[in-house]
Amino acid sequence: MLQQLGTTQATEGRVLVVDDDGEILSLVAKFLRANGFVVATARNGAEMKAQMQAAQPDLVVLDIMLPGTNGLDLCRSLRAESQVPVVMLTAKGDEIDRIVGLEVGADDYLPKPFNPRELLARIKAVLRRSRSADSAGAPGSGRLIEFDGWHLDTLKRELTDPTGVVVDLSSGEYDLLVTFLEAPQRVLSRDYLLDATKNRTLDVYDRSIDVQVSRLRRKIEAQGELIKTIRGAGYLFAASVRRK
C-alpha cells in the first residue's frame, strides 16, 4: 500500500488519497499520477496516520464516508496535528452543510460523483493558495476573502455584496474571481487566466477569457470598476484583498 514518493522537483506535488473504495482509490491515484502528482493511498484512518508520517503529503484528499472513524472527526484530528490542506469528497446535500457548519477545517469539498477534472482543478487551486500563503507568510488558510466590501466564502463558494446580498457565480466566474483574488493588483495575462480556470470538464463549450471576464464584471461591478483591462497584456484586479 505504501507508495514510495519520488523526490523529483518536476512533480505538481504530493497527494495522499484516503478512500475505503479500493477501485476509486486506485483510479484516483492513477488519474492524479497521470497529471503529474506523486500519490500515496490509504483505506482508513490508521493507514492515513501512517502515511502522513511516511509520505509527508502536500495535500490530502479525504472521503468523508470512511468506515470505522467518522470522516469529519478524522479531518478534525488531522487539522489538529498539521496544516496540510484537505479536499473532502462527500455525498451531496446535507453533509456539505455539516462540513461547513462544523468547521472541521477542510479547505474545499467536492460532492460525489465528482468529475475527475474538477478534482484536479480543486487540488491545484488549493495547493496554489496554500503555497502563496506560505510564501507571503500570512495566515492564508482563512476561507473568507474580502475585497471592496464584498465577501467570498471559498468553502461554500458563495459571494456576498457589500449589502449582504448573495450574488450567484457560475463555476467559471468563481474560478476566475478566485484567480484574481489570489493575485490582486497584478497584471494577469489571458493565458495565465485560461490556464488557471480551464478545462474543468470535457465540455467543448469553453468560452474565451474575455467573455468570462465580462460576465464576472456584470455581476460584481455595479458600484464601480474592479477589474481593469490592460491593453495588450491582460487584466488586473484593482481592489485590495484581505483574507480572514
Binding site: 473504495d21 477501485e23 476509486i24 483510479l27 484516483v28 492513477k30 488519474f31 497521470a34 455525498a91 451531496k92 446535500g93 446535507d94 452543510d97 460525489k112 460523483p113 465528482f114 468529475n115 475527475p116 477534472r117 458563495e158 455584496d161 449589502t163 449582504g164 446580498v165 448573495v166 450574488v167 450567484d168 457565480l169 457560475s170 466566474e173 470538464t201 470535457l202 465540455d203 467543448v204 463549450y205 468560452r207 460576465r215 456584470r218 455581476k219 455595479a222
Partner: protein, 452 residues
C-alpha cells in the same frame, strides 16, 4: 316567476345524499307514522270515553223521567213527559209500548239495552225495550226506548241521532304536530353533531394526500366513529411508513449509484478517443442529473440552506449563460439586479429546470424579469408547441411527461417542473403555465420581495 325559479334552484341545490338529509327523511317518516297511529288510538279511546259518559247521562235522564212520571197522576204525565224532553231526547207517555224489540241483528240497540240495565237496573223494573221505531219504514238512526211503569202504562223515549259525535280537536292535533316538529329539529341537530366527526376524515385524507404528512383524526365521538378514527389513523400511519420505506429505498439506490458513476468518470479519463470519452461523459452527466433530480425531489425543498437576500438576476444570468454555452438560444432581459429573500442553490436549480425545459422543448428561451415594490416576476417564453390547457395541471405532477416529449433525445423523466414548483412554493411564490404570444409555452414565476 323568478321567485319560483329561485326556489326551485334552491331545492335542486339541496343534497339528499348526505347523512343528515337521509336521517331527516327517516325521522320524518317515523314521526309521521307514530303521530298518525297515536292520533287514531287517541280518537278511539276518546270516543269510548265519550259514549260511556253519554250513556251514563242517558241512563240518569231516563231514570229521572221514569220516576217523575211514576209519581204523577195520569192526566199530567204527557205534559210532564213533554216538559222533560230536550235535545236528542223526546219523551211521550202512552198506554202501550211503541218500541219494537230489537231482533238481535241490530247490535247497537242490544248493546245499549245491556248498558242501560247495567247502569240503572231500576229502568228495567217492569220492562225495558230498546229498538227501532215501530211501524212502516223505521228510521234506523232513531232509537226508541220503551219502559213500562208500575201501573202498566208505557213511557216511550225516542233518541235522535244516537251516535255520539266526537268533537273535532284541531288544537290537540296542532300541538301534537308542533311537538313532532320540535322533536324533529332536535333530532336533526343531534345527527349533525354526531356526523360532524366524519367530515374530519375527508379533511385528514385530503391533507395526507397533498402534504404527505399524517394528520391524525381525533379518536372521539360516538363509539363507531371513534373506532373508525382509530382504524383510519392506523391506516395513515402504515401508509406513511410504507411511503417512507420506498422513499428511503429509492434514495439509497440513487445515492449508491454515485460511487459507480464516480468510477466510470475516472475510467473514462483513461480513454484516448476524444469523441468516445465525450459521449461517455455526456451519458454520465445525464445519469447524474437524473439522480440529482430524484434525490432533490425526494428531499423536497427542505434543504438546510437558509433564506437570505439573494440577487435573482445573477442566478438567471448564470443559468442562461450556462445554457447558451451549451448551444442553446437563450436571451435575458430585465433590471441589472432584483433582490429577493431566498435560497440561492434551490432557486438556481428551479430556474435551470424551467429555462432548460424551454430550450429543450421549445428551441429557444426568452427570459424576462420585471419587478415592482412587492414582487419579482420572471417570464420564460419558448417557441415550442406549448402545453394544452387541459395538460397544464397534470404536467406539474412528478414523473409526468407529455406524449410529445417522451423520446430519448430530450432526456429527463418528469421531475424538473415538479421540483421547480416545490422550490417556488417554498419561497411563497407562484408558478403559472400559459400560452406565449409566439404560441409556445409561457412560464410565469412570481417571487415575493422581502418587506422593506
Amino acid at each position: 316567476m323568478r321567485r319560483i325559479k329561485a326556489l326551485w334552484g334552491a331545492v335542486r341545490g339541496l343534497r339528499f345524499d348526505t347523512l343528515v338529509a337521509r336521517t331527516t327523511i327517516v325521522l320524518i317518516l317515523g314521526i309521521a307514522t307514530v303521530q298518525i297511529v297515536g292520533l287514531q288510538t287517541y280518537r278511539a279511546s276518546l270516543s269510548a270515553d265519550l259514549s260511556d259518559a253519554t250513556e251514563r247521562r242517558l241512563a240518569d235522564r231516563l231514570l229521572t223521567i221514569k220516576r217523575t212520571l211514576t209519581g204523577l197522576p195520569e192526566e199530567l204525565r204527557e205534559d210532564a213527559a213533554h216538559d222533560l224532553s230536550s235535545g236528542a231526547i223526546e219523551a211521550h207517555w202512552s198506554p202501550d209500548e211503541r218500541a219494537v224489540e230489537a231482533d238481535g241483528t241490530n247490535a247497537l240497540w242490544v248493546d245499549l239495552q245491556a248498558r242501560l240495565i247495567e247502569l240503572a237496573p231500576e229502568l228495567a223494573e217492569g220492562g225495558l225495550i230498546v229498538g227501532a221505531q215501530g211501524g212502516e219504514s223505521p228510521d234506523p238512526h232513531v232509537a226508541l226506548i220503551s219502559m213500562r211503569l208500575v201501573d202498566g202504562t208505557w213511557l216511550n223515549v225516542s233518541l235522535l241521532s244516537w251516535t255520539p259525535r266526537i268533537p273535532g280537536a284541531p288544537q290537540t292535533v296542532m300541538v301534537a304536530w308542533m311537538i313532532a316538529a320540535v322533536a324533529l329539529a332536535t333530532a336533526v341537530l343531534l345527527v349533525r353533531w354526531i356526523s360532524r366527526p366524519l367530515g374530519r376524515f375527508a379533511e385528514a385524507a385530503n391533507g395526507f394526500y397533498t402534504t404527505g404528512r399524517v394528520a391524525a383524526v381525533p379518536e372521539t365521538g360516538p363509539y363507531e366513529v371513534a373506532v373508525l378514527a382509530r382504524a383510519f389513523n392506523d391506516l395513515q400511519d402504515r401508509l406513511a411508513r410504507s411511503i417512507e420505506d420506498r422513499t428511503q429505498a429509492l434514495a439509497a439506490v440513487s445515492h449508491d449509484l454515485k460511487t459507480p458513476i464516480t468510477r466510470l468518470r475516472l475510467r473514462a479519463e483513461e480513454i484516448d478517443s476524444d469523441p468516445l470519452a465525450r459521449s461517455i461523459a455526456h451519458d454520465l452527466d445525464e445519469m447524474e442529473r437524473m439522480i440529482d433530480q430524484t434525490l432533490s425531489y425526494l428531499h423536497g425543498d427542505r434543504s438546510d440552506e437558509p433564506m437570505r437576500p439573494v440577487d435573482l438576476v445573477a442566478i438567471l444570468e448564470t443559468v442562461t449563460d450556462d445554457l447558451s454555452d451549451q448551444g442553446g438560444v437563450v436571451t435575458l432581459q430585465g433590471p441589472r439586479a432584483a433582490v429577493i429573500s431566498g435560497r440561492r442553490l434551490g432557486l438556481k436549480r428551479a430556474f435551470a429546470n424551467l429555462v432548460g425545459n424551454a430550450v429543450k422543448y421549445g428551441g429557444t428561451a426568452r427570459v424576462s424579469v420585471a419587478e415592482n415594490a412587492a414582487q419579482v416576476t420572471v417570464t420564460i417564453d419558448d417557441d415550442g408547441e406549448g402545453i394544452a390547457p387541459a395538460d397544464r395541471e397534470r404536467v406539474r405532477l412528478p414523473f409526468v411527461r407529455l406524449e410529445s416529449s417522451r423520446n430519448s433525445t430530450t432526456g429527463g423523466f418528469g421531475l424538473g417542473l415538479t421540483i421547480a414548483g416545490a422550490v417556488i412554493d417554498g419561497h411563497g411564490g407562484t408558478l403559472d403555465l400559459d400560452s406565449a404570444p409566439s404560441g409556445g409555452l409561457r412560464v410565469s414565476v412570481t417571487l415575493p420581495k422581502p418587506a422593506a
